[in-house]
């Protein structure tokens, strides 16, 4: 049973992690596409329309992979986590179905029009298509985060006599403090991925001295939006999330921070390796009293360590949780430094000639992906050992009749399929970047020209 549980967990973890590579760029780029289309509408300059078309091609490829890897997620609740679905389907099924009904229809309908219908729609119509694609993708994010937020901080439900979890208040499921901050934090992460990708492609063009006018547009858009997002990521959203965790999941906070002992004036660990057996942190580099201040705004406040909780309440992968959290925060700090410095250079008019900064922007491109993944790992590993915090343990949620052999079979299948998909995606996106924004007479992603004949 133990092995089956682990394989099912790995199954979900692998497929969701791979999937989330794509929507984070989709949601980030959707916002930047609206930015480019707005510029085009305001300045009436074909340059911005070309730029938008170029990114729309990449968006299209990325969206397609996001859709095909997203469909399995919706089904896996039932296939691999049947006991969880049976107990909580009345609640989380609501938000998941709303995602399908409210955002997928919107997104897929208008993406078709956005990609294939620029001539038919006209300038203003095409801006609306971009806007609705953005709205659809961000609504989609909202429903998913709302689902996760309920698992982190269950509210608006009631447990009946058979152990069935029923919805009791629609609005508290959909609108609560946890979903608000988690959504803001997640979306800013997605915006940063979009910005870093756009800025990196721009920097690549500037450094290789190709499509330079577009290079400048991309770097500028990426850096301006990215600097704002990077700052908001830390404060207030990251800070507010941290406080919610301190209040509602204190044992998670202790594990994330690697705090084994309850202390007054707890330090903030920058680097160090947790040794869970010996309950201590090796080679720590710390900022004294900082954790107490960040959590409670008092330098000497007491922060509960892992020792304040019984071991069966501890997350089961403390070291991994600790690293996920530290990688996320470390990278977030680097993003602020890079983006703010680049924004300063942009303001002084020196950015496009600063080779060092352009190199930095270009090389940063994998980092937001890592940070977003690490952030989600922090949320999900931090929730353990609970599937629904305080209500249902992860071990009680798996499908009782799906054996280890079958779970491995499909996990291996997904791994093989996703490797191929990942290579194809990289290959096709790289080709678009190589082709550049200037040659856009034919939309690459369009199967053929559709004309009304009658």
């Amino acid at each position: 049973m133990e092995e089956a549980l682990n394989v099912h967990r790995l199954h979900f973890a692998f497929t969701i992690t791979f999937h989330y590579i794509f929507p984070q760029l989709t949601m980030g780029l959707a916002l930047l596409l609206v930015y480019l289309k707005t510029k085009a509408l305001r300045t009436n300059d074909e340059h911005y329309n070309r730029a938008a078309r170029f990114w729309a091609r990449i968006f299209g490829i990325n969206f397609a992979v996001g859709v095909v890897t997203g469909v399995p997620m919706e089904f896996q609740f039932g296939t691999n986590w049947a006991a969880f679905s049976r107990a909580a389907g009345g609640v989380i099924g609501q938000t998941l179905a709303m995602e399908g009904v409210f955002s997928f229809f919107l997104e897929s309908s208008f993406l078709g029009l956005f990609l294939f219908g620029e001539k038919r729609l006209g300038r203003v119509g095409h801006w609306w298509a971009a806007f609705l694609v953005w709205l659809g993708s961000w609504l989609s994010g909202y429903f998913i985060v709302a689902t996760n937020a309920w698992m982190q901080y269950p509210t608006g439900h009631r447990v009946d006599s058979h152990g069935q979890i029923e919805l009791a208040s629609f609005w508290s499921l959909l609108v609560n403090k946890w979903v608000f901050w988690q959504y803001a934090h997640t979306m800013l992460g997605a915006v940063q991925t979009g910005c870093f990708v756009m800025a990196a492609v721009g920097a690549f063009y500037l450094l290789t001295k190709r499509h330079e006018s577009y290079g400048k547009t991309f770097v500028k858009a990426g850096v301006l939006v990215g600097a704002v997002a990077a700052l908001l990521q830390l404060f207030p959203t990251g800070d507010a999330q941290g406080k919610l965790i301190a209040e509602h999941q204190p044992v998670t906070l202790a594990a994330m921070e690697g705090l084994f002992e309850t202390q007054s004036g707890a330090p903030l660990v920058i680097i160090g390796q947790p040794d869970v057996q010996k309950r201590r942190l090796d080679n720590p580099i710390q900022v004294p009293n900082m954790l107490s201040f960040l959590t409670y705004r008092r330098w000497t406040a007491q922060v509960r360590g892992l020792d304040a909780f019984s071991v069966d309440q501890w997350p089961d992968t403390i070291a991994l949780l600790y690293y996920s959290y530290h990688v996320m925060v470390g990278l977030g700090t680097i993003f602020i430094a890079v983006m703010v410095l680049a924004a300063l250079l942009l303001w002084r008019g020196k950015l496009y000639d600063s080779n060092a900064m352009l190199w930095a922007l270009m090389l940063c491109v994998p980092l937001p992906y890592i940070a977003n993944t690490a952030g989600w790992m922090t949320a999900e590993l931090g929730r353990q050992p609970w599937l629904i915090y305080g209500l249902m343990r992860t071990a009680h949620g798996v499908s009782p009749k799906v054996g280890v052999g079958n779970a491995w079979f499909t996990l291996i299948g997904f791994m093989g399929l996703y490797v191929v998909l990942g290579i194809l995606w990289l290959f096709l996106v790289y080709r678009e970047i190589e082709d550049g924004p200037e040659d856009d007479e034919v939309l690459h992603s369009e199967p053929a020209v559709n004309e009304a004949a009658d």
């Binding site: 099924g93 409210f102 919107l106 007479e441 992603s445 199967p447 053929a448 004309e451």
Partner: protein
Amino acid sequence: MIIVYVLLDGFDLGAGAIHLIVAKTDEERRQVLASIGPVWDGNEVWLIAAGGTLFFGFPALYASGFSGFYLPLMIVLWLLILRGTSIEFRNHIVSRVWDPFWDFLFCASSLLLAIFFGAALANVVRGVPLDASGYFFEPLWTDFRLGEQTGILDWYTILVAVLALLALVMHGALWVQMKTTGPVNQRSAKLAANAWWGVLVLTAVVTTVTFQIQPQVKENFVTWPWGMVFPLLAIAGIAGVRFELVKRDERKAFFASCAYLTGMLASVVFGLYPLVLPARNPIYSLTVANAKAGDYGLKVGAVWWTIGILLAAGYFTYVYRSFAGKVVIAKNEPHP
């Protein structure tokens, strides 16, 4: 909702399954793809939305159905992934190895999906080995007989799967016929006319066998004779397809095929009611009453669901109208 999915994705699945047969040249193949290009992923969204609706409306059905059909569902997911990528990636590169590869994959995955969907439906009608825990697990096949330990595939489910494939081939061919001109149009018409005979014969066979296998169906039609409207709709639909094919009215032929599929599926739903997932041992069957979610959730769901679907119907009408009419591929169009 599932019916809408079958009608919409049905034609693009069917179009995929006949892709290699009706379209011989690259230009013709692009013509077929273009007929479904702008709409296929919207159609697929209906599947996701239907899954989600099942999830919050009937959590117990969702949980035992999905975990019990674990293997076929996973295979369906892989096929959906392959099919989606074939449609999206094919036209990015022109090469003697790239396009034919995706064409083949598109055709093969569409074909297999039609078969799996048919088999899945047949499994539900036949009943599954649910036990007291409320769960079951079926391997892909056991001994192909309708015993206690059934597999996903047995003679009955394979029979229905073939019917599903033929019906969707016909449906897809009628769609392609409606959306195209020239040789593709003629070949589709011919294929639809040939598939029609198979659909006719198998519909008769499957219907007869189903009455033997699932006693609930007969009971329902006897108790509520008004339910006969659904099979009558199917019969009218299939007759209509023939009639309109002969008259060469392409639009009406496609809509007749829609009527046939609607009639068939509605008959199944009506025939099984109140069962939603019959068990081989009837005492463990899941019914509407024991699989549904709490009342409050269902009420709330019904409100936003209606709003959402009305909105969706609005976008769909708009998109279909934007891409209405026959697909035209200019001869000298620069190939991407």
